[in-house]
């Protein structure tokens, strides 16, 4: 009997489309509210502190180790071609254009996105959002918007910090450990890396910041108001964010190359 299978398929397709539509409508709402939310800046600052400053340590630590691994692997690879002085170029371009924005976005989804989703989900589960509506306070305006904007503003800064620390990590391994010439490391890097490469990373991290923050606040805001629902919202946040970030990364890279 193929009929139930087909019905299930149709149902799941409709559900997916529905989720996509709800996301789009929510994104439109958030975009409309953005100018007004920026006006109440102290709430945004608080959220920059929550999602940005609190993600600083994990970002810096990861950046250092990613840079150091890049230094080791890059040295091993380039040594086979006898051009290990290009290590600086390879590490800087890899970090600025690709690894910095992407890994920071994944860390951001794991560290800040889950916090946002579970916080909003718990507010939903404990009827705090409903209480706000009763008091004629728009929860999107008061609770969701500052969290969204805080995430959007933090992401590019975190990615820049990640890339900078990563380059120092690569320099640490390449120059101090592997004895690549320090002058050639920096001079080759600086002659090869252009302003546009830095900007590519900044554009990517801004887009990832919008995507991750939107997914986190959407999942939290629309979570099922139970303990299980909050748990599922945080899981969905990480899964959807990671997939979307990697998907967007390919598209952005193809568009900007």
């Amino acid at each position: 009997m193929p009929a139930p299978i087909i019905r299930e398929l149709v149902d799941s397709i409709r559900e997916t489309l529905q989720t996509l539509g709800a996301y789009a409508l929510f994104a439109g709402r958030v975009a409309r509210e953005t100018p007004r939310a920026l006006w109440r800046f102290h709430l945004v600052v608080e959220q920059v502190h929550n999602s940005g400053a609190h993600s600083l340590v994990i970002t810096m630590l990861s950046g250092l180790f990613v840079g150091m691994v890049l230094g080791l692997q890059g040295f091993d690879l380039l040594e086979r071609f006898g051009s290990e002085e290009s290590l600086g170029t390879a590490a800087a371009l890899g970090l600025l254009k690709e690894l910095g924005p992407v890994i920071t976005a994944l860390l951001f989804a794991g560290r800040a996105g889950t916090a946002l989703a579970s916080e909003l989900g718990l507010m939903r589960a404990t009827d705090q959002l409903a209480a706000m509506e009763m008091m004629a306070v728009d929860p999107v305006r008061r609770v969701v918007m500052p969290r969204f904007l805080g995430g959007v503003l933090s992401m590019p800064l975190l990615a820049a910090i990640f890339s900078m620390i990563g380059i120092f990590g690569a320099q640490l391994v390449g120059v101090q450990l592997m004895r690549v010439d320090s002058g050639q490391f920096w001079s080759k890097m600086r002659s090869a890396v252009e302003f546009g490469d830095v900007m590519e990373g900044v554009v990517k991290s801004c887009v990832f910041g919008v995507a991750c923050s939107l997914i986190a606040v959407y999942e939290g805001y629309h979570s099922v108001p139970t303990a299980e629902g909050v748990g599922r919202a945080t899981t969905r946040t990480v899964v959807i964010s990671s997939v979307v970030v990697l998907l967007l990364d390919y598209m952005l890279t193809a568009a900007m190359l």
Partner: protein, 165 residues
């Protein structure tokens, strides 16, 4: 109130760090000037051709790095490239008739300046210009020279024998 202040301080620190990282990436990693420290002394040398030499490249004697290229500019009085080098002050006994050449490290490696010591009793000091320089070898010139000499050889002796000494 106190907590608000802590949050603002933390946020301010984070934003400052983020923007200084961005600033670092834009100014230091891309091709702009950056300081190599003020220690040491400066030497000048004029080259016909610097090839792919870049600021920051090493200056070496017998393979030992003794300084860095500080800057390269074009000198319209001599119609040559003027290379500024900063030499570590430990290496202060370079004879003033030493010669400077531009060499390549490996087949694909970066270019550097090699200094061969002369025999003079007086030494180079801050701001001195090196007298003898040897330009970078441009590979295209070398190949074309080789090809032309080959062609000239073949025209010189028409018998198609390969046994030329």
């Amino acid at each position: 109130m106190r907590q608000t202040r802590t949050i603002e301080l933390g946020t301010g620190l984070f934003v400052l760090l983020g923007f200084s990282a961005l600033f670092f990436l834009v100014t230091q990693i891309t091709n702009r000037e950056f300081g190599l420290g003020d220690g040491g002394y400066q030497l000048l040398a004029a080259f016909e051709q610097v090839g792919g030499l870049k600021a920051g490249a090493p200056v070496s004697m017998s393979g030992v790095t003794i300084g860095r290229v500080e800057g390269i500019e074009y000198d319209f009085d001599e119609y040559k490239a003027r290379v500024k080098m900063r030499i570590d002050s430990r290496f202060d006994r370079i004879p003033d008739d030493s010669d400077a050449g531009i060499f390549t490290a490996g087949l694909l490696g970066g270019q550097y300046i090699g200094i061969g010591p002369g025999g003079s009793e007086t030494f180079l000091a801050e701001g001195d210009q090196m007298q003898f320089t040897q330009s970078a070898i441009v590979l295209e010139n070398l190949i074309s020279k080789f090809l032309f000499s080959k062609a000239a050889d073949q025209q010189a002796d028409p018998p198609a024998e390969e046994s030329t000494p």
